[in-house]
Structure formats: structure tokens, C-alpha cells
Symmetry: C2
Subunit: 344 residues, 2 copies
């Protein structure tokens, strides 16, 4: 599959990838052409695929183990937001000829670490060569009780909008990597950069939201954009209070009063937190879940019936209930009528 | 996800890809973040992924509808060789900025045609941009009776080696495309080229081999290489007769007595036929299956206990039972002791 420095693909698979399949009987040690699996009784399989590409989704010089873990985790995040337990995954690894065996060893080490962390197993894949950049497509398989996954479209008028963890760290981390935040202190820079490079999918929490959440989505495109997706499918509007959006200490320190940086945080994406809606009546249970899972869960707003004239939209309010609008200079007050929140 | 000529990815998905999911309830119209599916009672899911990359797996100027169909079919071929009925698939489509909306429309049209042909449904995917060539990763999901898929490792000593269809057309078709076969007549050239561009996975036949075949693999790396894979996992050796390998009329006309071209046919790959083993006692049932499915099935050799000294290997014999060896000039007689067949 590749240039002189690499053994052939069968040797690479035997050496680095087959061991990652050894605990999953239906993977047949990657010695066959397909894997088999069945959902546990009462469950159905939940399947998701997402690819990441060098230069677009990660810096071309990012460490191979981090690339592997990011590729896997962005998919596990989607499963978590649907309430699914992850079980297995497949990887298509498309590599330029410049990649050497040490790179592949690092990549496999990254997968191995995350398999241990998340209880998933490699059950198939493909190695290909390319004249282009490193490209990693993962297909993740999980399971959830039949008919119970948390959809985008189930939000009900009056439901509270919640979000896990903190928002904006990854987007600000990318700004750090790009050198756009000179002068921020080193611990903050390191924290934010790490949050960009290595998502923390809410794999433990997600399945516990079944029965509580009416709708859910993982925050990958950005808090506002993903809330817009959820609202569009639920045929509702979302109203959130900017000051309620949970920011990490590092993000708060970087954002300060800078409306452009606030805009980066709220719209930048790559958070891989879960945005979900739930009835007010479930608030106590959600608080208990937050404590038992040790995951911060914050109410940031509500979904409401959309106005007949304007349809589904997302409105961001300041602390005085005044609508903000996204402009080149960040979230600003809109001086006239009710704004439509601009797109990111 | 891309340059000015393209609408954003959500519009592209709604316009071209969501309609391909409409008949599969668990795909939720591609409006959610994951799809759900369950195997039918008594069955388990069978899953396979393979990626194809421009310049490596297909010519960069190949029509988008053919790229789509090839990407899907190479995966359906693996499912067929395992005896699985295909049900659904996901696509990661990684595109350079030069791709326009008409290309995507053609790509989707290709998928639509093959969905109708093979009864499969798009249930998820991802659109990404790249600075490199068009890359398409497909993950295909099928189902088969629990514990019954046709593995690589089940061949028994004495089993007959069978292959479906004809071998070598695709490899010779690639030679046509590369201009390496000047002077061949136009109908032959067109037939071979088409066989390279558009695999015919044995989707109808494959599941009917359960209960007949002891081991199976689809021919993608080449007849000899894939037989070697099957034999290695089955811990047996394979002996095939070169003159028994079924060639199409076009391939026979091109190969003639040219040993290099015969080598291309036997080792070139991309056939997407099924290579399988079965006991002699099943020969009549296999003949009936060939007739009922209207698919040629040819006995090409046998698997035997490997010699203790040399382990699993594949031997190709001429019509006088003399071993041939692959050299630069094609399959030739090996003048000394028993040869090891060279690698492709």
C-alpha cells in the first residue's frame, strides 16, 4: 500500500491493528473480510461515521496518537449524545507515502489507550495510500434500548436547554495553536490547546440521559449552530442567555469582555459536549446525575414555540434579556427590532 | 465544507443524500446524528469498510456516478463473499475544493442506481474537504444467520476450490485504460474497461453459499493472492490448474499465449468474484446453484494438507500437472525442484 519504508498492509495489520481486535470475538482477529455483531437483548445498534482530514480538522504535524484518538472520539461523542453505549469501531486510514512505521505504531497506541478508556474494540478497517493528506474515517457502533435513542427532534415547548461541561475551550485552543491569542498565560494556553486536540466525549453520561432528555445533539459545529440544528428538527425556537453558557476558568480568562472571543467560544465548535433539552420537572434528576457522574450540567435557556412569521430560530440574550446578534466584532446588541441571530 | 461553487454541507445532504435514506426508517432521514438498526430474528449484523482513493484505486477523471458505485460495490462484494445479505451503508465523502455541485449530483445518482439494484439504503455519512484527491470510504452493513458467515479459515483438506464468474477482466481493463494493450479490438476493450470500472458483486449468490462453502473470500487482491489469504488462515495449501481458471472471451482473446498477460489476469485483482472451497460431495448442489442464479461457477483446484517443511502455499499447475512460477515474463515453468510460487 505504500513506499519502501513500510511493510505491506497485511503485516501492518497483523502487527499493529489485529491486537486491538483480540477481545472482540466477532472481529475474528481482523483475519477475515468482515466482522459480526449483535445488539444485546432489548437493544438495537446505533451507527455513526465521521472522517477527519489533516489541514482541515487537525494540524498536519499533530501527533499520530492524538489523531487516532480524535478520530475515534468525535464518533463516540455522537453515540453518547444519542444515549448509546459504544461497543466497536472500524477505521479507514488513508496515508501519504511520507508516513513511516513509527507513525503507524503511534497511531495504534492512541487507539489502544482509548479502547481501554472507553471499552470499545477495533473490528475492521482498511489501509490505503494517497497523494493527499492523512485522512481517517471512523465508523462507530454502539447500542441503546430499542426505540429509545435521544433524537434531535423530540424537544417540547418549555423544555429547558442544558449543556454538559464547558463550551468554547476547543475553539479558543485552536486560536492558541494559530497564534491568535498572544500573551495568554501558559497554563491557560496548554489547557485550551489540549481541549482542541483531545475531545472528551460524554460516553459515561450519555446513556443515562435516556428517559430524561427529550432531544440531544453533540456540540461539534458550535453551540449556537448545533442548537439551531436541534431546534430546526424539533420545529421550535431556542432562547439562551449568553451569561449562562458555562465557560472554563481558562476560557473566562481569555474571553474577559471581548465580544469577538465570546463569539469564538459560542460558535467555534469542537466542544464534543452534549446539548440536550429536558422538561423542567426533570431538573432535580439531572442535578443528581450531574453529581453522580461528576459532570457539570448547566441550564442555558429554553425552547419555545416559534413565531409563525419567522419559524425556528435561536436567540441569544444578554443578562438584561436583550437580544444579541453576531457581527464581525462578536456578539453585539442589536439596536433596532428583534434580530435574527446571524450565522456563524 | 468547500469553496464558493458548493452550497453548505447541510444543504447538500438535504438535497442529494437524504432522499437516499428515505426508505430506511432507522436512518431518520439523515436528520439525526446516528442511525439505528437491528438484525432480523436469528441473524447477526455483518460489517465491513473499505475506502477508495483517486489516482490509487480509480483514475482521477472517472465519472462521479461510477466512483460512487465502485466504492459501494467493493464493500458489497465482501459481504457477499461472507454469505451476508446487504442492508445499509454509510459514506464518508472527502472532496477537493475543485468538485462542483454537478459532480455531487452525479455521485448521488450512482448511489441511487445501486440502491435500487442491490436493495441497500444510505443511513449515514459525512462530507469533508481535503487538499488531496477524492476519497470515498464506505461502511457496509449486512446480515447473516448467527454464527454462519463464511469465514476464510474453514477450508478442509480435499475441498474443491471454486470461483464465480471470470477472472482477470478488471486487471486487463486497467491495462486497456493505461494504454498497455494497443491494437485490441474495440468491443473487447470496452468490455474489459467496464469490468474494471464497475465491479459486479455476487450479492444474490453469496448468501446461498452458506451451508455449501467451507471457506470464502472475494477476489480483490488477485486470484492467487486471495487464495493464499484463504489458505493461510485455513492452514492448508492450494493447488490450482491455470487452464481451469475461467477467462471471459475478451480476456482469452487478449491473453492468447502471452504468459505476462496471463499473469496479469491471475494476479491483477479487482475481480470481485467469490473464491470459495466446498467438499466434493456438494458439487452437484453447486452446479444447481450456478444454474438457478445464472452465475458461472468453476472448479479451479483443491486445497490439501501443507507440507510440514514449507507450510501453507499456493501452487499453480499447467495442463500437464507441472508447477508454474511467476516471473517477470509471466507464469513460466520452473526448471528445477518444486517451486514456491512467487509473490505478485
Amino acid at each position: 500500500m505504500s513506499g519502501p519504508p513500510l511493510p505491506n498492509e497485511f503485516e501492518l495489520i497483523a502487527r499493529y491493528f489485529a491486537p486491538l481486535s483480540s477481545a472482540f470475538a466477532g472481529a475474528y482477529g481482523l483475519l477475515d473480510d468482515a466482522a459480526v455483531l449483535s445488539p444485546s437483548p432489548g437493544n438495537e445498534l446505533v451507527v455513526k461515521t465521521d472522517a477527519i482530514v489533516a489541514e482541515v480538522d487537525f494540524p498536519p504535524d499533530m501527533r499520530a496518537d492524538l489523531i487516532a484518538r480524535k478520530a475515534l472520539r468525535v464518533n463516540l461523542s455522537d453515540l453518547a449524545a444519542k444515549g448509546a453505549h459504544p461497543r466497536a469501531y472500524l477505521v479507514d486510514l488513508v496515508l501519504p507515502k511520507s508516513v513511516d512505521e513509527a507513525w503507524i505504531a503511534d497511531f495504534a497506541t492512541g487507539l489502544e489507550r482509548d479502547q481501554a478508556a472507553y471499552g470499545v474494540h477495533l473490528i475492521g478497517g482498511d489501509l490505503s495510500s494517497t497523494s493527499g493528506p492523512v485522512t481517517v474515517a471512523v465508523c462507530a457502533l454502539g447500542e441503546a434500548p430499542v426505540g429509545r435513542i435521544i433524537r434531535r427532534g423530540g424537544a417540547q415547548p418549555g423544555d429547558v436547554i442544558f449543556v454538559t461541561g464547558t463550551i468554547g475551550d476547543a475553539a479558543l485552543g485552536l486560536s492558541v495553536i494559530r497564534g491568535e491569542l498572544p500573551g495568554i498565560d501558559e497554563p491557560c494556553a496548554a489547557f485550551l490547546k489540549d481541549r482542541y486536540e483531545l475531545p472528551r466525549p460524554r460516553v459515561g453520561l450519555g446513556p443515562k440521559l435516556i428517559g430524561l432528555a427529550t432531544a440531544g445533539i453533540d456540540v461539534s459545529d458550535g453551540l449556537i449552530a448545533d442548537l439551531r440544528h436541534l431546534c430546526a428538527v424539533s420545529r421550535l425556537s431556542g432562547i439562551i442567555r449568553a451569561s449562562s453558557v458555562p465557560l472554563s476558568i481558562a476560557a473566562r480568562s481569555v474571553v474577559g469582555g471581548d465580544t469577538r472571543r465570546l463569539a469564538t467560544a459560542l460558535t467555534g465548535g469542537d466542544d464534543y459536549e452534549i446539548l440536550f433539552t429536558a422538561p423542567e420537572a426533570k431538573a432535580n434528576q439531572i442535578r443528581e446525575l450531574s453529581q453522580s457522574c461528576d459532570v457539570r450540567i448547566t441550564a442555558v435557556g429554553r425552547v419555545v414555540e416559534p413565531s409563525a412569521a419567522e419559524g425556528s430560530r435561536v436567540i441569544v440574550l444578554d443578562e438584561h434579556e436583550r437580544p444579541l446578534v453576531l457581527a464581525a466584532e462578536g456578539w453585539i446588541h442589536f439596536g433596532r427590532e428583534m434580530p435574527s441571530t446571524g450565522s456563524a
